[in-house]
């Protein structure tokens, strides 16, 4: 049986999940296997479980980009924990809410009450009238021509009446409004694009192509024994740890879910001032405007009607204007508060940060592994440009230490040089093959990709060949010509001293500094 509750999760190249807006990570468990019902899920037996404020995310150790899935916490009804028993490892059963289609249908049927308009041509002036009424003999009085004002006979127009299918602006109907920020999202999205709030999902749209995500691959070992009407559940099996902490945290999260949901609603204050729900208000207004524009636009008879409508409309507008003003003031103070709150950590907020906190890990080893992943991601994004231009990177560990601690670790506990070194030496074990820790000149630890040392050495010798007498400053400038400061002076210095000790370059020492020349005369 295919569960709709599985969702695809996007991961970084280094195997960390990409969080949504406003999503916060809470805890990480390792190593964990995934079961659907009673059956093992193939390819999802060894991985990490990240618990965030919105999701339970499984990231596979071997193929993080393909085999990772997530569960929305909103879909979880309750969890049950069973401890280790003989050979059976500790497990957490997650019972899912039965996705009841009736709820969604209700919403949609309400939407479907649409007025059908019929068209009929006036037999006298040939004007094409539009009306919302259905044509019957009893209500012929309603069918006076809007242009000439004459009511035709029933027999004359009964065959000419054309029922017009209600035209729905399709794009608008399908868009899903976010309950927190009112942004209209594309129907395929499950969470708001702007603020990350979970969107209401209409499950009667199942046949819509977006719903079944083909990126999710669930292959079961045996029959899972789940029935559509029975309880749906999946299990997480803890291979080493007892998983107590994770279970408790999930339980707590689910309990607090309703409270969390309402906490972040953006214009929560505005609703209370207005007494009525703001969305209703807008509906009323548009309805009034519709009356004016859609029907009775022409003809003497309708002029009076439209005048009446306008007067009524003015009343509504005037009435709502005052409440609007109140709303505006409330909004203004809201925004003011918001500014005061976010202005300080504005820069940091840009990407949804995945915070690797020491406290979330049971053992130091797990922490180091997670740091290692984060470091990899950090280096790959930070030095992306250099990677594109030169194809290789070479950064001293000291620089990484400073960069990483300043950019990522403030507020979540700085890492020590020792931890950083351990994390870097784990790249290979974690399958992050494109970076490795090297020691250049037998003393300076560097993060390098490929044969970066050979590459930079060749480039330096090339530059010195064309510019005999180049110094460190000139070389640094030449290497970083494309405005990226990626080749640091420290690294270049090391490469130069390597070239000198191997005899490829000669030095010319003066008070002003050291200049470099290619060794043509004194071959070794």
């Amino acid at each position: 049986m295919r569960l709709r509750q599985w969702h695809f999760v996007e991961t970084t190249g280094s195997g960390q999940p990409i969080l949504r807006e406003n999503e916060k990570d809470i805890y990480i468990e390792h190593p964990v296997g995934c079961y659907q019902g009673k059956s093992k899920i193939l390819g999802k037996q060894k991985g990490r479980v990240y618990l965030t404020s919105q999701r339970i995310i499984y990231i596979d150790d071997e193929e993080p980009t393909k085999n990772s899935v997530s569960l929305e916490l909103d879909d979880v009804a309750h969890v049950e924990y069973s401890s280790k028993f003989l050979r059976k490892s500790a497990r957490l059963s997650i019972f899912l809410k039965n996705l009841d289609p009736s709820e969604g249908a209700k919403v949609n049927s309400a939407k479907k009450v649409q007025q059908t308009t019929s068209k009929w041509p006036c037999p006298i002036c040939d004007f094409e009238n539009e009306t919302n009424e259905t044509l019957r003999i009893e209500n012929m009085s309603l069918f006076s021509c809007a242009n000439c004002g004459i009511t035709p006979d029933f027999d004359m127009i009964k065959d000419l009446t054309v029922l017009k299918a209600p035209q729905e602006p399709t794009s608008q109907v399908n868009e899903v409004e976010c309950s927190a920020c009112t942004f209209l999202n594309h129907p395929s999205l499950t969470n708001c694009e702007i603020c990350g709030t979970r969107l209401p999902v209409y499950y009667d749209n199942v046949d819509a192509p977006h719903f079944l995500d083909c990126r999710i691959k669930i292959e079961l070992q045996t029959n899972d024994g789940l029935k559509a009407d029975g309880p749906l559940y999946i299990q997480l099996s803890f291979r080493e740890s007892d998983g107590m902490l994770l279970s408790q945290t999930i339980e707590e999260l689910i309990e607090n879910q309703p409270r969390e949901d309402t906490k972040n609603v953006y214009n929560i204050g505005a609703t209370s001032i207005n007494e009525s729900y703001p969305h209703k208000e807008t509906h009323k207004e548009t309805k009034a405007l519709e009356l004016e524009t859609k029907l009775g636009r022409v003809g003497i008879a309708s002029l009076e009607k439209s005048q009446e409508d306008r007067l009524r409309n003015n009343d509504i507008i005037l009435g709502s204007a005052l409440s609007d003003l109140n709303n505006l003031m409330a909004l203004a103070s809201d925004i003011e508060q918001l500014y005061g709150k976010t202005a300080r950590d504005d820069v940091k907020k840009k990407p949804p940060l995945f915070i690797v906190d020491r406290e979330k890990f049971l053992t130091k080893e797990l922490f180091i592994k997670e740091i290692s992943r984060e470091l990899h991601g950090f280096i790959m994004t930070e030095f992306q440009k250099q990677m594109e231009v030169d194809g290789v990177i070479l950064i001293s560990l000291v620089d990484i230490y400073a960069l990483y601690n300043k950019a990522m670790r403030i507020g979540s506990g700085l890492v020590s040089p020792q931890e950083l070194k351990e994390a870097c030496s784990q790249f290979q074990d974690l399958g992050l093959k494109n970076l490795h820790l090297t020691k250049i000149n037998g003393r300076v630890l560097c993060i390098s990709s490929g044969d970066s040392f050979g590459y930079i050495k060749k480039r330096i010798i090339d530059i010195v060949t064309t510019n005999p007498g180049a110094d460190l400053l000139g070389l640094t400038q030449r290497l970083n010509e494309n405005d990226s400061n990626s080749w640091t002076a420290g690294i270049i210095m090391e490469v130069l001293s390597n070239c000198v000790s191997e005899g490829q370059l000669l030095i010319d020492e003066q008070i002003t500094g050291v200049q470099y020349y290619v060794n043509f005369d004194w071959k070794i």
């Binding site: 000790s501 010319d508 005369d521």
Partner: protein
């Protein structure tokens, strides 16, 4: 004075002691060649430690270790190394504390050249003063003409060792020579 030296003389790294040992060996060899060339071209028998030519106990300010064209000077410790290398390779002989004889020919070559002069000019079995040998008209055009006296004594000593010459001393100072 340094115009006739090879172009490497104007190569700036020459004036810095190279850290690589193998390279430094070649650098010192280059310096030795330069010193020999320099001394030969300028007929400088004797250079002081700073690389200036010593003539009749007066020295000029110009030094081979100082390159005015590219504004480079070899540092003193490096000059010490160069001299050590010169002496070790028997391309120079230390005269006093501050002066070196540059041997662009080895002592053996000089002594056989002197012997050749004795043979061709028919001075065998005659007593010839050192002044006559080095400054006299008869040795004009020979390469050793104008050689420093102390250096000449060293050459003649070589001949003595081979039993071809007898040195005539007066008050412990070599005055003349008789070649058999």
């Amino acid at each position: 004075m340094t115009d006739s030296l090879p172009p490497i003389y104007n190569f700036p790294p020459l004036y810095t002691c190279q850290p690589n040992v193998l390279i430094r060996k070649q650098q010192l060899a280059t310096w030795c060649d330069l010193l020999l060339n320099y001394a030969k071209d300028n007929k400088a028998w004797c250079l002081n430690h700073e690389g200036s030519i010593l003539r009749d106990s007066e020295s000029s300010n110009a030094s081979i270790f100082k390159n005015e064209t590219i504004q480079r000077v070899a540092p003193a410790p490096f000059i010490d190394q160069i001299w050590k290398e010169m002496v070790r390779g028997q391309k120079a002989v230390k005269n006093s504390d501050e002066a070196y004889f540059i041997l662009w020919r080895s002592l053996e070559q000089w002594s056989s050249l002197v012997l050749q002069w004795f043979e061709t000019s028919g001075k065998l079995n005659q007593v010839v003063t050192l002044y006559e040998l080095l400054e006299g008209d008869e040795s004009l055009g020979w390469e050793f003409h104008g050689m420093h006296q102390t250096l000449c004594e060293l050459c003649l000593q070589k001949l003595c060792d081979r039993g071809r010459a007898t040195l005539l001393k007066e008050q412990n100072k070599i005055m003349g020579v008789k070649v058999l």
